[in-house]
């Protein structure tokens, strides 16, 4: 039997983008935009992206390094306030093993001529496969990718 364990942790990432809130929100809400920055690094294989952006809607993506571990992300959207807030819960599976479940809140606020983004992830890491430090690092990378996308 697998040794069961859970570790709970919360991390917060704050970013400033020189773009209006509506543009930042659209990068999350529009599937065609989100797939351009969301997911693993550029050299990963990605498949099965879907986003049904409404409360109760699902988002999923699978991917990983070529020939390597398959990462599967599955989310349910719990709350949307247009141009202000998105709340979703997601789980992450590595080759079909569930390694974490997270509640992720993205807050979007006007800041000068741009936008402040506050991302809070409250997570439970299961059975020792991952931890909040690694997840935060990966998420920082996602927001770098978002920044590059917005600046294009």
């Amino acid at each position: 039997m697998t040794k069961r364990s859970t570790t709970h942790a919360t991390f917060v990432i704050e970013r400033e983008y020189p773009h209006p809130p509506a543009k930042v929100f659209a990068a999350f809400a529009d599937a065609k935009q989100k797939i351009k920055w969301f997911g693993g690094p550029d050299n990963w294989d990605k498949s099965n992206y879907q986003l049904d952006f409404r409360v109760g809607g699902k988002e999923s993506i699978s991917g990983g390094p070529p020939g390597g571990t398959v990462h599967a992300y599955d989310a349910t959207i719990w709350d949307i306030a247009e141009n202000e807030r998105i709340v979703l819960a997601y789980d992450l599976l590595l080759d079909s093993v569930r390694i974490s479940v997270s509640l992720a809140t993205t807050e979007i606020k006007p800041s000068g001529n741009g936008t402040q983004l506050i991302y809070t992830e409250q997570g439970v890491y299961l059975d020792g496969y991952d931890d909040a430090g690694q997840r935060e690092e990966g998420t920082q990378q996602l927001f770098n990718q978002l920044e590059a996308f917005l600046n294009k």
Partner: protein
């Protein structure tokens, strides 16, 4: 603008029953109806109950003189007799007031079972729902002990 508050609340109890018995009190919706109401004048009604990974519960917390609290639960990770992880949102009247990620872990301690409940809460009404979770779950976990009292 909306006001968000994030919190993590941990509760622990030790019950005089095996992990299998404590787990059964969570997996069985009839048992849950008995112990999850936090006060004598509050009752819980289920509109849907589907205890499996990906399954959903919809329950209504009914208190005289107050709008119902409607909780929608999605079960994410279930390990029989060991662990349940679920996501939940709560709607009060016509307003969504919180989303939460909740994990419940059971550990055998001799003939008893240690239960750890961790609630990671995003409250949309400032800290109001954090207080709601504190009140509701403290009472429910105390009630749960009565399931094993005979």
């Amino acid at each position: 603008m909306t006001t968000l508050a994030h919190a993590t609340v941990v509760m622990e109890r030790t019950y005089g029953a095996s992990p299998a018995r404590v787990f059964a009190a969570w997996s069985d919706v009839e048992a849950r109806k008995r112990w999850s109401a936090p006060a004598d004048n509050i009752r819980i009604e289920y509109e849907a109950a589907d205890f499996r990974e990906g399954g959903k519960d919809v329950s209504r917390c009914i208190e005289p003189g107050n709008a119902d609290y409607v909780a929608t639960v999605t079960y994410v990770d279930i390990r029989k007799d060991q662990r349940i992880v679920f996501a939940e949102d709560v709607v009060h009247g016509n307003k969504r007031v919180s989303a939460a990620l909740i994990s419940m872990e059971l550990t055998a301690k001799g003939a008893e079972t240690h239960l750890a409940l961790t609630m990671q809460i995003a409250s949309f009404d400032e800290a109001g729902m954090e207080a709601g979770y504190q009140f509701g779950w403290n009472a429910a976990l105390d009630n749960l002990a009565k399931e094993f009292a005979q």
